[in-house]
């Protein structure tokens, strides 16, 4: 083999080593993308509706409580009726009606009186939003997340193994600034060969 051929061969070995490293980095990036996709996957519709029901119960109860029906028990109280909680905020020379609490109470009352209609519409909207997307229950999310994170670690260890091999061959390789410290500190004999 001539010197030029040797040089070309060694240059192509270096190039392909860096190509392999690029592929490993792509594998790491794709494993990380899997983690993000598992983290951002919505819960199943039924799970969302269970959560929604807790909120509906709370605001419906709160709505009626805020009307303070106990006032009706007082002498002549019933004829005075019930009030929404509207507060008067006094400032220098003027006053403002604060209706934000009253709006919350009204929403609670609307929900309480039309709960099923409200649920059906919201459920339909949620089903449209999650259509075509993978949904994950809390248990399966935690399982899938653990698997995905394990794959990220394995990819990072492969990448670190390749970098150390390149360094051993006196090639200068920059590590990713967000490299996993477990891979950076892994003992040589723990790295995949």
């Amino acid at each position: 083999m001539t010197l030029l051929n040797k040089l070309t061969a060694s240059r192509s070995a270096v190039t392909s080593a860096f190509d392999v490293l690029d592929q490993l980095r792509e594998a790491t990036a794709s494993a990380k993308a899997e983690v993000s996709s598992v983290q951002s996957a919505p819960p199943p519709v039924d799970e969302i509706m269970t959560g929604l029901d807790i909120w509906l119960d709370r605001i419906a109860t709160d709505g009626f409580d805020a009307l303070r029906p106990g006032r009706l028990l007082a002498q002549g109280g019933a004829t005075q009726g019930l009030d929404l909680p509207i507060f008067l905020e006094r400032h220098d020379g003027f006053a403002v009606r604060d209706t934000s609490r009253a709006v919350e109470v009204l929403l609670g009352l609307v929900v309480a009186l039309n709960r099923e209609t409200f649920r059906t519409i919201i459920r339909g909207q949620i089903e449209d939003l999650v259509a075509g997307r993978e949904t994950l229950s809390a248990a399966s999310r935690s399982k899938r997340l653990a698997q995905a994170m394990q794959r990220v670690l394995e990819a990072e260890l492969l990448e670190e193994a390749a970098i150390r091999q390149l360094e051993n061959a006196s090639l200068d390789v920059a590590r990713r600034p967000d490299a996993d410290p477990r891979a950076l500190l892994a003992a040589d004999n723990c790295l995949p060969s």
Binding site: E154, P177, P181, R182
Partner: protein, 139 residues
Amino acid sequence: MATKELTFDPSRLTALARIRDAKRATIRDLGERYQQLRERRADAQRRANLAQANAQVTFGPAREAADNQTTKSQAEVDQIGARMQELQSEIDALAAEAGEAGMNFKTALAFAAEQGLTIPTTLADEAAVLDRTFAPGAR
């Protein structure tokens, strides 16, 4: 791929510090070379100015020689300037790499401290800085 039981080797910290330090040392070397080039360029610029001043007060062959000297020195100034620009780009790229290498080292050092690994004595100073940074009430 099944991951083997992971064990950590604190001496990797030394390797990571060495990589960072090597990059920093190269930046320093390049910085010195940049400074030398700056001086050489100033020198060439002085010569070009002097030759130009001479050209304005001489005639005939002497003026021609002065003009030639001006052109030559100016070309040298431009050439050194171009080399300085290249060197600056090289320094910038290396500074980014040194920053990343520094980040790798710091992340690994923090992790090693968290795991209670024995930090190599040569890195005790850096570990102490880390302790101060993360100590309660340090901020």
